[in-house]
């Protein structure tokens, strides 16, 4: 398997009036050609900031302070953190080689242009073709994402279409330039479950055809189980466990992953009270010393977890965890 994207020790911090928020703090992972990597974690754990760092579309207050984001483009490797975020090289990668789909499809289309105008714009930014050709390509893509009446949808405005339809349009737009990497930042969160299932099915189908590598961000373990090949679990700006999807669900190692899996409601065990992870997520301005999870952890070791930060250990093939229970001293 060949790597397309590798993030090494990425640190993205927000400089705010209230203090520094270390939203992403030493994240490393790799994305291989044609695979789906699920990134899971609760809100505020840095999933989206990781995605925005890769795309270099961070808000003004955020800064990549350390790390590398390596992208294999044809023959050469580029470190995206070294590029000017407004420069031509980054702009050429953004949208063409690495495309992104977002959470709220209705808000991601500008209300003053038609869906078609925005799709055609995306194509023309990167491809040297005429407007008619771009329109034909957009039309072909809408057919691919199974939109009924694609011709009329092209001339509609976002407020005339449903969320599910718009998410299909966004996927069509993202895939129209056949990107190497597709970053999906909670694309199904704002949709209801039936539409969510359709979108996941659709992406699974299209992935076979386009063989883009997908980085799928979500907080939903159910979605992760359905879509990903490998999973990275994030907690407070760090990846605490990475594993192939089956390993993760059968043999979760990190106490946080275990707690997450235990807190999924199960219909079979009806009368049991739903389990929740104890405690609350710590204040982002004031991260705990040592392991970030220690104040909520069931297996907390006094004098170790609250003093030193564990290093990542490879427990099994491709199954890595950041916890003292498995070494990491």
């Amino acid at each position: 398997m060949r790597k397309v994207l590798e993030v090494r020790n990425l640190r993205t911090h927000f400089e705010l009036v209230e203090g520094t928020v270390r939203a992403v703090d030493g994240v490393s992972f790799q994305l291989n050609e044609g695979e789906v990597l699920g990134i899971v974690g609760e809100s505020g754990c840095g999933k989206s900031v990781t995605a925005q760092s890769i795309m270099r579309i961070l808000p003004k207050s955020a800064r990549i302070v350390d790390g590398e984001i390596l992208f294999w483009n044809q023959q050469d490797v580029v470190d995206l953190t070294k590029l000017d975020s407004e420069g031509e090289q980054m702009r050429n990668i953004r949208g063409k080689d690495i495309a992104m789909i977002f959470q709220e499809p209705a808000a991601c289309f500008a209300p003053v242009y038609t869906v078609g105008e925005q799709m055609i714009e995306a194509i023309l930014l990167h491809e040297d073709m005429s407007k008619q050709e771009a329109r034909r390509l957009a039309l072909k893509m809408l057919e691919k994402v199974k939109i009924p009446n694609p011709e009329s949808v092209l001339d509609r405005y976002s407020f005339q279409l449903s969320g599910g339809m718009l998410q299909r349009c966004m996927i069509a737009m993202a895939l129209s330039l056949n990107p190497k990497v597709l970053i999906a930042d909670e694309p199904t969160t704002a949709l209801d479950v039936t539409i969510q299932a359709q979108i996941i099915y659709l992406v699974n189908q299209l992935q076979k055809e386009y063989s883009s590598a997908i980085m799928w961000i979500t907080h939903d373990m159910g979605v992760i189980a359905q879509i990903s090949d490998r999973v990275a679990v994030m907690y407070l700006g760090q990846i605490v466990e990475t594993a192939p999807v089956k390993d993760l669900f059968r043999n979760p190692l990190h106490p946080y992953t275990r707690a997450l899996l235990r807190s999924i409601p199960r219909l079979a065990r009806r009368k049991k009270k739903l389990e929740a992870i104890k405690g609350v997520v710590p204040d982002p301005y004031n991260l705990p010393i040592g392991c970030r999870y220690h104040n909520r952890c069931d297996s907390f070791i006094q004098g170790l977890c609250d003093e030193r930060e564990p290093t990542e250990v490879e427990v099994d093939v491709a199954h890595r965890v950041k916890c003292f229970l498995y070494g990491g001293r």
Binding site: M55, I57, P59, E86, R91, N92, I93, R94, G95, K96, A99, M100, F102, Q103, E104, A107, C108, F109, A110, P111, V112, Y113, T114, Q118, E121, A122, L125, H126, Y157, F159, Q160, M170, M173
Partner: protein, 327 residues
């Protein structure tokens, strides 16, 4: 779009009629009429009152007829372009307000253009360069502009021009051109004078527009569709013009409707201070002395301006914002 336009224009006709009725009633509301005011003035100056002459005047002006009848006589005249007779000025209303109306429209249009052009440029600058020195400077200027009454600004500018250049810029023309026929020199003289009222009247709405555009732009810049467009690879300069600004500029169009009538009615004090030949000034006099045909006609014109302004801004809005067009 065309049906929308036609519907808007058709609605304007009954509206105008209603406005005419209401304004006429309001003018008639105070007890007495122009002749009572006239008699009072005569009494105060100790002149004898000739009852027979008064009666002649009363019949001539139709003041002995009931209100409703008077309204229809006046309204029928209006439809034919005859706006009645001003008691106070002893002239037909149309003669009186004709040129004033054009000067008012001229000053209004220039002031609006001034407010829009500078409001737009400064608003965009402030929105994109939030918290920069320029933004702070324009914000301070903007608040001063909003808070200073127009007449005060007019006085300050008049004084400043007088002190530095030694000329008085009151009115629209220098005395030697005021009654002269149109010529190139008169036009140049007009240009020399008109900038002052344009700035004075335009500043307030410009300051308002700056605040509106800046706030809207800041709201829009963070919206997901802007980030999505950026993620497609759109360069940031194009991004600002094409996306957030395109949405932020919509409220600009919706204010277009108010500007015209606001300038006519709101600039009365400025008009008096600067001695401008605009309709606002004579409207106040006409209302004070119950010069009802003059006042009624002026209110009619103000309403027509308001409706024209609103229709224009509705058309602009529908053109700019598909959400309105497709409703």
């Amino acid at each position: 779009m065309l049906t929308y336009l036609l519907r808007r224009l058709l609605f304007a006709i009954p509206l105008l009629f209603l406005i005419a009725v209401v304004s006429f009633i309001i003018i008639e509301l105070p007890p007495g009429d122009y002749l009572t005011v006239y008699v009072m003035n005569l009494k105060q100056s100790g002149e004898a009152i000739d009852e027979a002459a008064l009666q002649v005047l009363r019949t001539r002006y139709g003041l002995d007829k009931p209100l409703l009848l008077r309204f229809f006589i006046w309204f029928r005249g209006v439809l034919k372009g005859d706006f009645g007779y001003s008691f106070m000025w002893e002239k037909p209303v149309s003669q009186l307000i004709g040129p004033r109306l054009w000067y008012t429209v001229l000053i209004s249009v220039l002031a609006t253009a001034f407010a829009w052009v500078f409001g737009f440029l400064i608003g965009v600058y402030s929105g994109i360069h939030q918290y920069s020195i320029g933004d702070y400077a324009f914000t301070v200027l903007g608040y001063i502009g909003l808070a200073t009454p127009n007449f005060l600004l007019a006085l300050i500018l008049l004084w400043a021009v007088y002190v530095t250049f030694g000329v008085s810029l009151g009115g629209l023309f220098s005395p030697e051109y005021a009654n002269a026929p149109w010529s190139w020199a008169k036009f140049v003289d007009l240009l020399k004078h008109i900038w002052l009222p344009v700035i004075v009247i335009g500043t307030g709405s410009m300051a308002g527009l700056i605040r509106i555009l800046r706030a809207n732009l800041l709201d829009e810049i963070e919206k997901p569709y802007v980030i999505a467009a950026k993620a497609r690879g759109l360069p940031s300069k194009e991004l600002y013009w094409k996306y957030p600004l395109r949405v932020a500029v919509i409220p600009f169009a919706s204010t277009a409707g108010w500007v015209l009538p606001e300038i006519v009615s709101g600039a009365v004090v400025t008009g008096i201070v600067l001695n401008l030949p605009t309709v606002g000034v004579i409207l106040v006099d006409a209302l004070k002395s119950q010069d009802m045909y003059l006042a009624g006609s002026l209110v009619m014109f103000l309403s027509i301006f308001t409706i024209i302004g609103t229709v224009i801004s509705d058309i602009l809005l529908a053109w700019l914002d598909p959400r309105i067009r497709f409703e």
